[in-house]
Assembly symmetry: C4
Homo-oligomer: 268 residues x 4
Amino acid sequence: MAWRERLTRFVEHQRFQQFVIAVIVANGITLAVETSRSIVASHGALLHTLDTIALTIFVVELLLKLIAYDRAFFRDPWNVFDFVIVSFALVPASGPFSVLRALRVLRVLRLISAVPAMRRVVSGLLAAMPGMGSIVALLALIVFVAGVMATKLFGEIAPEYFGSLATSLFSLFQVMTGEAWPDMAKTVMAEAPMAWIFFVVYILISSFAVLNLFIAVVVSAMEDQLRDDMRAEENEHAAALARTQAEILAELRTLQAKVDRLDEPDKV
Amino acid sequence: MAWRERLTRFVEHQRFQQFVIAVIVANGITLAVETSRSIVASHGALLHTLDTIALTIFVVELLLKLIAYDRAFFRDPWNVFDFVIVSFALVPASGPFSVLRALRVLRVLRLISAVPAMRRVVSGLLAAMPGMGSIVALLALIVFVAGVMATKLFGEIAPEYFGSLATSLFSLFQVMTGEAWPDMAKTVMAEAPMAWIFFVVYILISSFAVLNLFIAVVVSAMEDQLRDDMRAEENEHAAALARTQAEILAELRTLQAKVDRLDEPDKV
Amino acid sequence: MAWRERLTRFVEHQRFQQFVIAVIVANGITLAVETSRSIVASHGALLHTLDTIALTIFVVELLLKLIAYDRAFFRDPWNVFDFVIVSFALVPASGPFSVLRALRVLRVLRLISAVPAMRRVVSGLLAAMPGMGSIVALLALIVFVAGVMATKLFGEIAPEYFGSLATSLFSLFQVMTGEAWPDMAKTVMAEAPMAWIFFVVYILISSFAVLNLFIAVVVSAMEDQLRDDMRAEENEHAAALARTQAEILAELRTLQAKVDRLDEPDKV
Amino acid sequence: MAWRERLTRFVEHQRFQQFVIAVIVANGITLAVETSRSIVASHGALLHTLDTIALTIFVVELLLKLIAYDRAFFRDPWNVFDFVIVSFALVPASGPFSVLRALRVLRVLRLISAVPAMRRVVSGLLAAMPGMGSIVALLALIVFVAGVMATKLFGEIAPEYFGSLATSLFSLFQVMTGEAWPDMAKTVMAEAPMAWIFFVVYILISSFAVLNLFIAVVVSAMEDQLRDDMRAEENEHAAALARTQAEILAELRTLQAKVDRLDEPDKV
């Protein structure tokens, strides 16, 4: 049992973590350099070796953690995150999986799990997500309904934008990012002059929903941060007032007791 | 009377509502599949049958609710929403009404009224609307005035953008979504070099109005959500302090009474 | 003196104000119709007559108000607004002033001063302006400096965007609205490959300044609206607690007096 | 020692500062005029002389301040700002440094350090920066990873957008400003039809991160401004309540003492 504790202390040691961060950064640089075809042509073998070394270090690191924490390893979602990202690199990236080679750069995202400050930021972002659920579902529903309608109405007029449901959904996503819709509208309105109604209604409704998505996130962020601060202060005020009230009550009770004693000897 | 209560209990039963939600989702899928011309060619009859079944279920569902709630049915705006949407599908969709065929997909929006979580979100969105009334009216006024001015000033220079009032209003809506205005400005300024004044002033004023529309919504959402939370807490603090105050007063009055009794026997 | 009071009562009468609003709306409609060249060709004389009638009513209305309020008339900024707008229509709109014909539609903006709800909204917008002063000045300074730099650096490379200081300022305003900058960057970078630094820095700084302008407005709107509400409630709580405290103090003083009386007869 | 105090009083005198502001504005105007090639051709010598005079005044001003404050000069970051900006103008702007000539206009930014209101605004902006650190780092990481992936995946398909890592990063920055991405997507998807996944995921993640950057700034601005106001008021309420409580306690103790005296003579 002693060796497991010592192993845990080793993988949690600041030096070890700083070493892993350094390897991630170094690997990020080699991956960046690898995008240059001329450097790959001249120093390809070196880059490949460096990449393999980095990957080996990551695998060893994860194995050590797996041994140290045993089953508890997978309880920390950040460990799962590291595990999945490193696994990508071990899948043979050839044939239909050649896209996976490009996914190797996701390894650099391990910086997020390795640096505590970034971990906190991402945890904060994820914490804001549940409150967004219903509005995101509503937005998806709006885009879906608009997509089916656009395909039916404009599919034959402008097949490059609305030819199939998939194309329509992609076009409507572009409209939602505020891009390229004047071109779409011009193409469609050349044959269906009333089509502006569709675009104006869709833009107004989807912007309004996005705005509310935005507000939901802002308000929830406020609730968590601003309120905590103010609550602390209010609690302090309220506590000070309550303390003095308690003092007043105590004094009153002493007084009560004295008056009682004052009363009794008289009767006696 | 007993059968009406039993009918009400039936249409409000969770199972019945889950069944309706399932039919809405299934109908949404058939409507999505229907956008593919090749599938319609091969399985058109099946899709049509499925659509008719779904529609029949919706009609029966609404009839049951109509019978169960009687006049109270139309008091719930969500019922009116369902009623209008299902009615669309019953209008003969041929000739000039062929657009209505595309509106059948609006039926999928019934998901909003069927799922309580989405109902709440939409209710929330609609609750934010009254506070926006005046600013939306102001924005409409600004766009109208700018539209008339642009038609008069640039109608002959750039008829593709400002040829008629309708075209101008549509172009100015595009400018407001932050799209394509450099092209318009270039076309117009080729002949009227001072036209940049119009565009800059219009963009500044309309952005400022939109910004304030946005702020109105955010502030009202804050007022409703953030304040409620803080109010609850403050009320709690205030209530705790008030409770102790009441206790102090009660003690004081007891003391008062005792001192009074102390006073009287002396005099007697 | 009596006739002036009666005149004031007349121009402030709800019926009179509703009549003026109706005339503004009607005039807005005739101005909108006037943008159609075919209708002007067939009914031009009628439209001109209606416009003259509306203008006459506005002039009479303002004269009545001028007489009724005398010098106080110009103390209300909304009256000044009405006065300036109606004056535009009386300037002979010919020759170099032909642009003023298009400005006649500004008369429709009198709706803002005539409808109390819109008046409040615009007052609210204007109240947010002072807090924006310094940031707007900073933003103007940033655009000016960037404009001079762009003209010097890229003036010969891309004269269509940065040929003169005026052109540069207009281009940089376009960049700030998030439009067309990829085209500008591409043109410039064809000859000056490092120009991306200029664009990226300018976009980051100007977005950051605009963001802060936005925050200044939001925070000030919050301060005015949200705080007022919460303050009201807090005041209420504080007042309730203070009231009970006063009661406690009063009881204590009564008690004090009683004990004093209790003390004295003993000594006597 | 006396002359240093007098010098300090001189450089801090309002008149002196107003004179410097006037020179900055005048220099800004000559720099703006200098962008016009025709005016430079006719009055180039005059402009050059004016510019040299302004620069001389700035150098003298900074020397005076350097002497007056001695080592303390560089402790004020605004002085460092002024020093760096004026130094730019003294570097010989020829050959490879010709870009520095364009940087001379940065001198106009001295307005920021010279006008107290703008100084406060910029200090406010900079104060908001530390809270943004982690999210900006996260955003940079996201853009870097997406850039490497895009170069690997689309580098050969669309070299004009994703040919090298630098080009990819610039393209992805454009996407983040909401510009031109439909064109990129169209070019790439012509050969890699699944590329929409990359764009949609990148846009969603980067928008979400930017949104949170934005919220971090808003919330921190709120915390600083809104809270201060509310805290002041709350403190006031709490202080008033606490004052009355102290009064109540004092009265109670007086009462206590009286009852004690009442008790003792009885026993005596």
